[in-house]
């Protein structure tokens, strides 16, 4: 394939689905459960992370209903504590961390780099089974009474004092860690060795750069949380003393080990979403992304610096003042690459040809919400201010802006963007735009009041709060109901469109990546002929095959043509 392959505009009507593609190549439940096709594995993950999103979402709904009144009549204190713990465990370990990497990453990385599959397809399937095994342990914990330690599992509460089903949950998260490790390993090797001819490092889509950075964190961070949780679990089972001060251990050591992974884990959630946004914005502005190298390098910078900021979760544990100063400074440092990305995305819009398509709405919504989430991170990194807002609702609002406003907006936006590729069908555009707007409004109404609550001094994880905090809590719950609608809508119409949607054609937007140069849905082996890349990323000007006007220089040969 070359850039000068086709001259007909791909949007011309009357597209048919390809006769054979990865979805209908083989039939039966076995063909799915034993598949090694990265695209099918991605769909297995899609189904399972959606399930955990629902589980976590139900817990969230109950939390918000309970908080409508200061005394909270819905559930007992014990149940409330279990609800927010299970909400956190389900959402973080089983939805957010695997969502974009395991669903979109699995589906797209081989397509984007022009490979037939990932480097280790069997390992890829094994990762899914490990994820499911871990998930079963956690669900078992939920079903046998749940756990009430908070998703952070701080010792000695989790290892000694809690009377709930902590052990199976810890085991579940421990097991699930290996799924992350193997996925990360698979992606790094795939990106290193499987790139198609001409797909140089600086021609990689930015989504791949983001996934590469994420995989580094998977590889280097996850083993540490695995061993830490294992130690906490052993301490609980055999009454050992690693983190129990009564037996000579140190609870602060647990926090160090825990956050050594769990802070970078935040970047596991947000980096891939940034990758998605970096794909969507140039596509719907129809111009190259502004500062490609800076966006790519900032992903790596975030992954690397992200490993050296963990103790900013511990400014008030009594850690030494010098450590606090160092970690605060490093936390400010990691903010800069994130800011660089925001500036570059915004600049990409300048002199673009911008459309209102749904993925674009999500991407712009992402920028707005991530901006607030990122900026409030500066408040928490600020030592003097952290004394007051640490462990209050300010923190809750901040990380929901990053994880829900950022990561989930990116994930849902990415699902819309690549939905035509995944299913071959187009979703109903009007409903989709409506859902994007509802999500944006509902989200802000839910979480913005929590910043104020936090500054007013409402601590987190409270089932019962002083009456002066009620107004803002009611606002938050009202927002949550709008937010819930915003999530249900895409769930419904996306499912509907799989069967009844219009046929999309190979490149409906059109976009420039390799994944759009194969039929939708793609064949099992991704490309009929191994593609050769001879264009720069996001280059609309030199891509006559896209069938778009090139107003400035009508008939220019491909700048990097080598054929």
């Amino acid at each position: 394939m070359s850039a000068t392959m086709s001259t007909t505009p791909p949007q011309s009507p009357g597209y048919q689905l390809p006769k054979e593609h990865y979805l209908n190549a083989t039939y039966g439940i076995r063909s799915w459960l034993l598949t090694t096709d990265h695209k099918r594995i991605a769909l297995l993950y899609l189904a399972s992370v959606t399930f955990f999103f629902f589980v976590g979402g139900i817990f969230a709904t109950m939390i918000r209903i309970h908080l409508l009144t200061p005394q909270g009549y819905l559930v007992t204190p014990e149940t409330y504590n279990k609800l927010f713990t299970m909400h956190g465990v389900a959402m973080i370990f089983f939805f957010l961390i695997p969502s974009i990497p395991a669903v979109l990453g699995n589906f797209l990385i081989p397509l984007m780099i022009g490979a037939k599959d990932v480097a280790f397809p069997k390992l890829n399937l094994l990762s899914w089974y490990i994820y499911i095994t871990g998930g079963c342990f956690v669900l078992y914990s939920f079903a046998t009474g749940g756990l009430d330690t908070g998703w952070t599992f701080y010792t000695p509460l989790s290892s000694v004092y809690s009377n709930s089903a902590v052990t199976p949950a810890i085991l579940g998260i421990f097991i699930n860690g290996f799924s992350s490790i193997l996925t990360g390993l698979n992606f790094v090797v795939t990106i290193h060795t499987m790139r198609a001819p001409g797909m140089t490092w600086f021609r990689l889509p930015l989504f791949v750069w983001a996934q590469y950075s994420t995989s580094i964190i998977f590889i280097l961070g996850t083993p540490v949380i695995a061993i830490t949780l294992l130690l906490a679990g052993l301490e609980r089972m055999f009454h050992l003393g690693f983190f129990n001060p009564a037996l000579g251990g140190d609870p602060i050591l647990f926090q160090h080990l825990f956050w050594f992974y769990s802070h970078p884990a935040v970047y596991i959630m947000i980096l891939p979403a940034m990758g998605v946004v970096s794909e969507i914005i140039p596509t719907f502005a129809r111009k190259p992304i502004f500062g490609y190298t800076f966006i790519a390098a900032s992903s790596i910078a975030i992954a690397v610096i992200g490993f050296f900021v963990w103790a900013h979760h511990m400014f008030l544990t009594g850690e030494s003042t010098y450590a606090a100063l160092a970690f605060s400074l490093l936390s400010y440092l990691v903010a800069i690459p994130s800011a660089v990305k925001v500036f570059n995305w915004t600049s990409t819009l300048y002199k673009g040809s911008i459309s209102y398509d749904t993925p674009m709405l999500y991407a712009l919504g992402f920028i707005g919400l991530f901006l607030i989430g990122g900026l409030t991170g500066l408040f928490l990194a600020c030592l003097g201010l952290d004394i007051h807002i640490h462990d209050t609702y300010f923190v809750v609002a901040h990380f929901h802006y990053i994880m829900v406003g950022g990561a989930v907006m990116g994930y849902v936006g990415g699902l819309h963007f690549w939905w035509p590729k995944i299913t071959g069908k187009i979703y109903p555009e009007f409903l989709a735009r409506l859902a994007a707007v509802i999500l944006f409004i509902g989200f802000n109404l839910t979480f913005f009041p929590q910043f104020i609550l936090g500054y007013l001094g409402m601590p987190r994880r409270y089932h019962d709060y002083p009456p002066e905090f009620q107004v803002l809590n009611v606002m938050s719950t009202a927002g949550a109901s709008i937010l819930a609608l915003g999530y249900l809508l895409p769930m419904l119409y996306l499912t509907w469109s799989m069967r009844y949607g219009k046929v999309a054609g190979p490149n409906p937007w059109p976009a420039t990546g390799l994944e759009w140069r194969t039929p939708s849905p793609p064949p099992t082996e991704n490309f009929e002929v191994t593609p050769v890349v001879n264009w720069e990323p996001y280059d609309y000007k030199n891509r006559p095959d896209l069938g778009l006007a090139t107003p400035t220089a009508p008939t220019l040969a491909p700048a990097h043509g080598d054929d």
Partner: protein
């Protein structure tokens, strides 16, 4: 099922396949370093806090058995390296022989380790099972000694688990090797298991002085 030496579907060339496998193995070992790293850090901090107690507890370990095991394991690394070399130069019989030797040495190591564990069990030095460091030891002494033995069992146990997995891999390699699968062109599995085996070996090279030798002069 594809036969060994053949190209798996997702790859374009044999070279690409080999590069991927080797890179994958190195990355896997990097994750292993961090996995053990958490334990080493916990050990280091507690060793610093309870230096004298850790020294005292360390002296109850059997230096002779530990030293013997160190020699055994270094020997097994040598035979493993020989197996890799034999595979690369295509001496098929030698590959099998060296792999079997490696497996045997690995089993000796695990056997000696089991004897040591049994001793600890008899001395009530197994954390969580009626742990008692010495007769009439006070609560603090017991707690801190138990920390040492928790880490001893945690670290050597995790290491032993890796040895068991390595032995399983060796059995698989021996079967392949007896079928004559490994040639100078195709020997990635031998090389990669070799890398793994050496890694497990190196972990022991760190564990031995940390646990057995910290306070012996």
């Amino acid at each position: 099922m594809h036969r060994t030496g053949e190209l798996s579907g997702q790859f374009q060339t044999l070279e690409q396949q080999k590069d991927s496998a080797t890179l994958g193995m190195w990355i896997f070992l990097a994750t292993e370093i961090l996995f053990f790293g958490g334990l080493f850090l916990t050990y280091t901090i507690n060793r610093h806090t309870y230096a004298s107690m850790f020294a005292e507890a360390s002296r109850t370990l059997d230096l002779k058995l530990g030293g013997f095991n160190t020699v055994v394991l270094i020997g097994s690394s040598l035979t493993m390296a020989m197996a890799v070399w034999s595979a690369q130069v295509g001496k098929k019989k030698l590959v099998t022989l060296f792999l079997i030797l490696t497996l045997l040495l690995g089993c000796v190591f695990l056997g000696v380790k089991a004897i040591e564990y049994k001793q600890k069990f008899d001395e009530n030095h197994v954390p969580g099972l009626n742990f008692q460091f010495e007769k009439n030891a006070d609560q603090a002494t017991n707690a801190h000694a138990q920390l040492f033995f928790s880490l001893y069992f945690g670290m050597t146990g995790l290491h032993a688990l890796h040895m068991v997995i390595g032995a399983g891999l060796l059995v698989w390699l021996i079967k392949q090797s007896m079928a004559g699968r490994f040639t100078p062109q195709y020997n990635t599995p031998v090389e990669n298991v070799g890398l793994y085996w050496h890694f497990v070996d190196i972990v022991w090279i760190y564990l031995f002085p940390l646990l057995y030798l910290i306070d012996r002069h």
